[in-house]
């Protein structure tokens, strides 16, 4: 069984850093999908199953906060954990997003082991083996 992970960030460097952290984690990663903004991410998940979403906030076209607000209108986050990985460190922002259904918030800069711990925990809690 292997996981399908969606990484959402307008910065290609940041996406690569997150992808690298996920790949180094030892998790059984089947596929990593990438999106450059919230709109691309929503379009992608409308057509593809993912096991977890790792998303930035500050992005053009549609921000991570706007993306989460759209997801909150559906039951997406009751099924699929969404983790925000962002430079924003405002506690108010974190509270707002968690109230909408975000599962975890990891401030940048992050250590790869932090990504591993959060992703492992959430996938374990989700109780599924992924898209195998």
């Amino acid at each position: 069984m292997s996981y399908r992970i969606l990484v959402v960030d307008d910065s290609p460097v940041s996406r690569k850093m997150v992808c690298r952290a996920v790949q180094m984690s030892g998790l059984d990663v089947g596929e990593i999908l990438e999106a450059g903004n919230g709109r691309e991410a929503l379009d992608l998940i409308a057509n593809s199953w993912v096991d977890i979403v790792l998303a930035d906030i500050n992005m053009p076209v549609m921000s991570g906060a706007e993306m989460v607000a759209e997801m909150a209108k559906t039951d997406f986050m009751s099924v699929t954990p969404v983790v925000i990985i962002s430079s924003e460190k405002s506690e108010k922002r974190q509270e707002e997003l968690k109230a909408l259904g975000v599962s975890a918030y990891l401030p940048k800069p992050f250590r790869p082991e932090q990504v591993k711990q959060i992703v492992e925990k959430l996938l374990r809690e989700k109780g599924e083996g992924g898209h195998g």
Binding site: V13, S90, P109
Partner: protein, 156 residues
């Protein structure tokens, strides 16, 4: 209106970010950044009641080192060269998150803009640094230079 973080605080935030995220170790430089060469410059706005522009000016080779360290690739690779601008922009983005907390605390949401990155001649970035309220110049262990500045940009 919130005051800009002190130069010491901006220095502390910048140096710890460089070390923690990019494994680049630097210290305050006694000399200002030279303006006789072009630099890789990332700019973004931090907005709440007023707008501040965070400006990160980096020597081109240092930009490649930053990209290489962030991505775990060779310094002198084409991939590092191509990613240098984005790496400097991303570091500016991360620094902006910390700086916005210094401005307004953890209970306020500031708008952090999308960074723009360009190779700028000294005339351009030098003019910006001259207008900065906070202007910190650094030199790395390897002798590369960079500057980080906060420039007031009026009311939001």
């Amino acid at each position: 209106m919130a005051d800009a973080p002190s130069a010491d605080k901006l220095t502390e935030l910048s140096l710890s970010l460089l070390a923690d995220a990019a494994f680049v170790f630097a210290e305050r430089s006694p000399e200002p950044l030279a303006t006789n060469q072009s630099m890789l410059v990332a700019r973004l706005l931090i907005e709440h009641d007023v707008k501040w522009e965070l400006v990160v000016c980096v020597e081109l080779d240092l930009g490649m080192v930053l990209a290489a360290n962030l991505l775990g690739i060779e310094n002198d690779s084409d991939e590092a060269r191509n990613a240098a601008g984005d790496a400097v922009g991303e570091l500016a983005n991360i620094l902006a998150g910390s700086v916005s907390i210094e401005f307004h605390g953890v209970h306020t949401i500031c708008k952090i803009g999308i960074p723009t990155v360009a190779v700028e001649p000294g005339q351009i970035f030098g003019g910006t640094l001259a207008k900065a309220t906070r202007n910190c110049h650094f030199v790395t262990e390897e002798g590369a230079h960079l500057a980080i500045a906060l420039v007031p940009r009026g009311k939001a």
